[in-house]
Symmetry: C2
Subunit: 478 residues, 2 copies
């Protein structure tokens, strides 16, 4: 029943085991592609619902563009094409015949969407355009794939906006970063560092890329979402031109941004423990599971009625509650099962509870069990779900802080990156050579350049000793 | 401003024009694939929301399976492969290399899903399995494509269930037909005939196919949804075996079923008129548009405040209301614009309305305008939206009935099918030859065999005169 692998001992094996045992995903007959099973998909539906609401409230609208991108279109922005072509899957045959031009399965949709924007946008009245789509994308990974974190097909949303000025595009980027941060920190309870990517790590074709980076238990960073300022890099080759108020024709300023089912992987890694998943209450498809405990046959009916009543009461107050009244399993077996599946709160109802008009609540995150009066169950459950949500975030936040440090020297930095991992905060001169050297010697890359952070006091690049330009966070990454 | 094409004169040209003008969809650089613009996608979101709720309430759960299907898997059920291979798009290159085995883009997901079911299902306790997925599918149409009705990529849901007995599978089919009927008739206001497909028209690989058929204004039928009883046709080649309560190993009984973005096309065709779209209130992204009417500058502010107040009041009562306060357009221009876009109800607020504490409501379906007291606006709007919903359905129902008749002879049937179109109810001996002859001479196929309908009195096949076996509905179709 218990997991064979411990999270602290072998994160990777634990991760795969917990995904299979909790039936989040399964491998499919297509190499590198997984099946999203009920629980994982239900978590994705929650994420989608939360993010979609925030996007709609800020004036974004959903649309759907074709899956296929003709090669000639993908080639229009050279850097973009170079960046994505190694990972493309190509359709070459359709309806029994060789196609005249091969079609890429979208790895991302800038090119197909912008070919339409150039047709739709005419004047300043048409701006801003703020569209989003929820869809599948394909990147033909040749590295080892890992469920949710790196698969050849995944689900995501991609936002694509056009603005009259660079300033407005910058505002949009701030807005989306704020929305993503809320989604990831407040709902998924995963703390992130926010900053800008270095040139070598930015999105292919972007002017610059902003990123939200989380820290995994093995000391590796994980990119949880990215927001690109595309500048006019795409509007020029795609000729997305508008007539401004001053009568002049100008190229639009663009942004694109996305988060994916990768977030589910981050959530599993960050919160889970040796017993299995821990799903933050706000995204949990089942927040509370009610389990009856009976010893004698004559108690059974009363207890089952009580369990059903509690479920009804919770559902009516908007708590996502479920019962497990299966006869063929013992309460102990069920406790383990629902702990494995990560349900944040358990309600136990036994004969003594019924006699005393009480129920027992057991927290998944701390294991704490308390007895509460039945009439205050809704209040207590809601309170406890909030506490669990908060505790998961704070625990992860503390870990992130513990795993972030300043190196005393270059050698010290390489040693930290190689051994313990985590984020190493350092100064950097801005040269790709220094960045490359760190990568070669430690496997770490610059994860982000935080905006407006003051220097660490050294004022020199930790690699070459020349004058530094940026504070950066190095880390190995997923 | 007005449409160039009239619905009654050239349905096909009208359909294309209204879709473009109301910005529902646009052609894309990929032949046969369209872009779903905001309004069309928002209608799809409403359809999805309504259907998803009904499916979840009846114990179905959402999942997501890979886009790709290896050729060997698609080949496992011979009839299914034969049926779908002519329409497959094939990926042959991934990550820069030729693939060992080509991958079909799913035209439907039976094969990939059932390869997993055979792994997941062990015993009777695992049954029923009732999974659904919302996704994109690709069928490489070589016929002329038409937005929403026939495109190479479209969006749909596909449900896939496994049951211990044929009876349970039959119950599932009844349930889904009922759910689909509610979605299509009660929400999209499109009346349908429900029945079974003839052998030649059934889904490739099915034991039998049930269908919901709608009637378009040009007398052609449109298949609005299908529900397949797969029998054990897939469980045998895919070895989906369960140990039953009696200890015996048995093949599961399966169903699969889907509706697609085609429903949007049906909705446009059935309800639209020469002014543009008419969207049934239950699926309309915007149910009410409030338009201010001002003649003098000094009235403007009061009227705008009033318009805003009305919008707020409606939104608070759950009515999807919008305002159009643009200064650069006249009220008359706006009336036309929102009529074109199919918003079912318009609220007009002018200076006299404000003075008298009234507002004017204008119905999109009948053009009727009434003046109502401002304090009863919510009640009146809700009442009128219900009436519009009802009227659209009844109008379409009457048309369907008018377009359904019995033929007096074979020649009479062929004449009806060729000229006016519609459904012709007739008796049929069951032979594919008779079915084929009708198709060759009129272009019509058997759309459905209604369950339990009594004979038309003739008792002989309308084609060959031999003893008849079935009542059938012939029609040409989309």
């Amino acid at each position: 029943m218990t997991l064979e692998n411990k999270k602290s001992e072998n994160l990777s094996a634990w991760y795969i085991e917990v995904i299979q045992r909790a039936q989040l995903a399964d491998y499919s007959p297509v190499q590198g592609c997984i099946v999203f099973r009920e629980t994982a998909y239900a978590i994705w539906e929650r994420i989608r619902e939360i993010l979609d609401r925030m996007l709609k409230e800020t004036g974004h609208r959903n649309v759907y563009f074709p899956l296929f991108i003709p090669e000639s279109l993908l080639r229009k922005e050279a850097e973009h094409f170079e960046g994505f072509v190694p990972e493309c899957a190509w359709v070459t045959i359709g309806g029994g015949s060789e196609l005249g031009e091969r079609l890429a399965i979208r790895p991302t949709s800038e090119t197909i969407i912008y070919s339409m924007y150039s047709k739709w946008i005419r004047g300043w009245r048409d701006l801003p355009v703020k569209l989003n789509q929820w869809c599948n994308v394909v990147r033909w990974e040749t590295k080892m794939t890992k469920p949710f974190l790196r698969t050849r097909e995944f689900l995501w949303q991609e936002g694509h906006t056009c603005h009259a000025t660079l300033e407005e595009a910058e505002e949009e980027i701030k807005l989306i970063l704020q929305i993503y941060r809320r989604l990831i920190e407040e709902h998924l309870a995963i703390p992130v560092l926010v900053g800008i990517k270095s040139e070598s790590e930015k999105f292919a074709g972007a002017f610059y890329t902003a990123t939200l980076e989380a820290m995994m238990p093995d000391g590796k960073a994980l990119q949880a979402g990215t927001v690109h300022n595309l500048g006019q890099n795409f509007s020029k080759p795609f000729e997305i031109i508008f007539q401004d108020r001053d009568g002049e024709n100008k190229y639009v300023w663009q942004t694109s941004w996305g988060v994916s089912t990768r977030l589910i992987g981050a959530m599993i890694m960050v919160h889970g423990d040796d017993k299995g998943l821990i799903i933050p209450p706000k995204v949990a498809p089942i927040q509370v599971v009610c389990i009856p405990i009976f010893y004698k046959e004559e108690e059974t009916e009363t207890i089952l009625e009580e369990v059903e009543r509690v479920r009804e009461t919770l559902l009516e107050s908007g708590v996502r509650a479920e019962v497990d009244i299966r006869r063929e399993y013992t309460p102990g077996w069920k406790f383990n099962e629902w702990e494995l599946r990560g349900v944040p709160l358990r309600v136990e109802i036994g004969p003594r509870d019924v006699r005393e008009g009480k129920v027992t609540l057991a927290r998944r995150d701390t294991g704490e069990r308390i007895s509460v009066e039945e009439e205050e169950i809704v209040e207590k459950v809601e309170e406890m779900l909030n506490e669990i949500q908060k505790n998961l975030f704070e625990r992860a936040k503390k870990f992130l802080e513990d795993m972030t440090e300043e190196a005393s020297s270059y050698d010290n930095m390489i040693e930290i990156l190689r051994k313990r991992g985590g984020f190493v905060r350092a100064e950097w001169c801005g040269s790709p050579e220094c960045e490359k050297r760190v990568k070669e010697e430690s496997g770490a890359t610059i994860r982000l350049i935080p905006p407006g952070e003051k220097g660490v006091g050294r004022k020199t690049c930790i690699v070459c000793g020349r004058k530094s330009k940026y504070i950066v966070y190095f880390a190995r990454a997923y």
